[in-house]
């Protein structure tokens, strides 16, 4: 009895030690495919990479893709910089902030973009139906929830307020995770919420009204997020980066053209039910970056103190 226990403990300790060690550069599987690990958040926006994996686009490039989900976006940059992920999904503002702080990160492909339509997008500022807030300028002096402070949400909402003639500096932003935002709005804990799908549909169904599609207000073709890695990784693994970029771009274009397949694949890695998936507004998936929109965003971020200086897009974009 005691001997068994000792053996079990020893085995457990060894597993731990073995699991802790080991580098992860240029490993191949049995078929000779290069193993790559990509960190993504399990949200609608990352559908193309799941779809591309299912369609075999990565295998075609000789890549054995492992998708690792992280609960929040905060793990993406440290994960890539520490070498735990080969690539990760991150929003453009997070990357601009990381670059602003001197981290050597660079996008390799696009990820999600705004809808390009002024009357529908996958993210919006929402107020209760009976709210006196009629348009973005009325948010002046109000409390608005965003998922992260000093990021793409508050920056684009401030820009929308200013564009509409309000005072962008007189808004009280507070952090509320997207899943909790609809409840916070219906309990009137905040005056308005900024949420993405599927929480946007949920908030509207709960009696919410859209005040501003802030991404589109910033720039109709605004690129929201992409897949990135470090400059060092790009320099050392040129070939892998090229293959990943090709497979990822193919996945993005495929997802952009196959709406229903995107809605279906989302059901495999999230717990969003079919009815919601059928209704929700999808982001635009396309492989080309819209550089002009990023310049607009970068300039706005400097105006609202999210960034210290305008981003060097030559360094940030492929």
């Amino acid at each position: 009895m005691r001997r068994t226990a000792t053996a079990v403990l020893a085995a457990a300790a060894l597993t731990l030690v073995a699991a802790c060690g080991g580098g992860d550069s240029e490993e191949t599987n049995a078929e000779g495919d290069t193993k790559i690990k990509v960190g993504v958040i399990p949200i609608v926006d990352t559908a193309p990479i799941w779809l591309g994996k299912e369609k075999g686009f990565f295998e075609e490039e000789g890549l054995d893709l492992e998708i690792t989900t992280t609960t929040g976006g905060a793990a993406a940059v440290p994960g890539v910089v520490s070498g735990d992920f080969d690539f990760a999904f991150g929003n453009v503002m997070s990357l601009m902030v990381a670059a602003d702080q001197g981290l050597p990160v660079e996008f390799v492909t696009n990820g999600t973009s705004a809808s390009g339509q002024t009357d529908a997008d996958f993210g919006a500022v929402i107020v209760p139906t009976d709210s006196p807030i009629k348009s973005a300028k009325d948010l002046t002096g109000k409390t608005v929830s965003v998922n992260n402070l000093k990021n793409i949400g508050d920056t684009t909402v401030r820009a929308a307020i200013e564009k509409d003639g309000g005072n962008p500096d007189d808004v009280d932003f507070i952090e509320v995770p997207f899943p909790d935002a609809p409840a916070a709005l219906s309990k009137k804990q905040v005056d308005a919420i900024w949420v993405l799908e599927p929480f946007m549909s949920q908030a509207i169904a709960d009696g919410g009204r859209v005040v501003s599609y802030n991404y589109v207000e910033m720039s109709p073709q605004l690129d929201i997020a992409g897949y990135f890695t470090t400059k060092q990784y790009i320099a050392e693994n040129k070939d892998v980066v090229e293959r990943f970029t090709r497979a990822m771009n193919k996945s993005l274009d495929y997802a952009g053209e196959n709406d229903q397949e995107v809605r279906d694949i989302v059901g495999t890695y999230t717990k969003i039910d079919e009815a919601t998936r059928a209704k929700m507004v999808l982001p635009v998936f396309r492989s080309e970056f819209d550089r002009a929109s990023m310049e607009t965003l970068g300039a706005a971020a400097v105006t609202y103190d999210t960034l210290k200086s305008e981003p060097d897009l030559d360094a940030l974009l492929p």
């Binding site: 699991a19 690792t68 992280t70 709960d206 969003i272």
Partner: protein, 280 residues
């Protein structure tokens, strides 16, 4: 006061092992426990049904339990449970072994005890959760990151108990052992270890609970699979499932506590604290 009891009171909340002696009401503790659960579930159901909270944000107990039942029929549910239990078990094992070895070494030397006291008291209160950024930087979002939190939190629970235990050796017995010429290893084996064992068991039981809490927290905040990650995925989009998963982690906690008590009782069956109650 027996060593086991003083260890337990040092730990604060725990009751002595074995059956509690009841005075007055002759209701078996098992029945009372069940009544407590029924009362809790009834309150939960009432709060929702009366419209005090909206079922959209907190579904009724009946629908959550129904969801749990249908979840339990799926294979993936047991996969998540397995992942959580694996992290818990490895974490507790590593923390337990490290704490017992270090505790016995430090505890049997006055010099080491005094030299490490302030360091231990400084490190012990650091909340494991505060180490999440460090864990993610070191191990990414893998299971090891969560493991770091689990080991850190459970380690102190066990170490403190072992230190108390190793310090509780009867001085007469210690002098006797020394005058009979028992070496360090023999004294640890025949004197320190049996004296410390009740404390070790208490430490492991407390550590087991803390390890589970940190496992689920780590999975929730960092990711990497298991029940915690599924709770994070269900947040906001599958509320009933989320509460079903929360109830599942609670049930695992109860099971772990029962298991720890059974192990404690068996390991200490020779000890006066367990024997006396078995006789009575």
């Amino acid at each position: 006061m027996s060593p086991a009891n003083s260890a337990l009171s040092a730990a604060g909340t725990a009751a002595p092992p074995g059956r509690p002696r009841h005075r007055g009401l002759a209701v078996p503790s098992g029945v009372l426990g069940v009544l407590g659960i029924v009362g809790f579930l009834a309150t939960w159901e009432l709060v929702v049904r009366s419209g005090l909270v909206e079922p959209r944000y907190l579904p009724a107990a009946s629908s959550v339990l129904g969801e749990l039942a249908s979840l339990a029929a799926t294979g993936s549910f047991w996969e998540w449970v397995g992942l959580t239990l694996r992290t818990w078990a490895v974490g507790l094992a590593v923390a337990g072994v490290a704490a017992i070895v270090l505790g016995l070494v430090i505890g049997s030397s006055r010099f080491l005890r005094q030299a490490t006291h302030s360091t231990i008291e400084f490190l012990r209160p650091i909340p494991s959760v505060a180490l999440i950024p460090l864990a993610v930087l070191l191990y990414g979002t893998s299971m090891q990151a969560t493991l770091l939190l689990v080991v850190y939190a459970a380690f102190w629970q066990v170490l403190i108990q072992v230190l108390y235990g190793a310090g509780d050796v009867d001085p007469v017995a210690d002098d006797t052992a020394r005058s009979y010429g028992l070496g360090w290893t023999a004294r640890v084996r025949y004197l320190v270890w049996p004296s410390a064992l009740p404390y070790v068991m208490t430490g492991l039981r407390l550590g087991a609970a803390v390890a589970l809490i940190l496992t689920v927290t780590g999975e929730l905040v960092i990711g990497g699979g298991g029940l915690g990650t599924q709770i994070a995925l269900a947040q906001g989009v599958a509320v009933t499932e989320m509460y079903a998963l929360v109830v599942a982690t609670g049930l695992i906690g109860v099971a772990i506590n029962l298991l720890a008590r059974a192990v404690e009782k068996r390991a200490l069956r020779w000890h006066v604290s367990v024997r006396r109650e078995a006789v009575a």
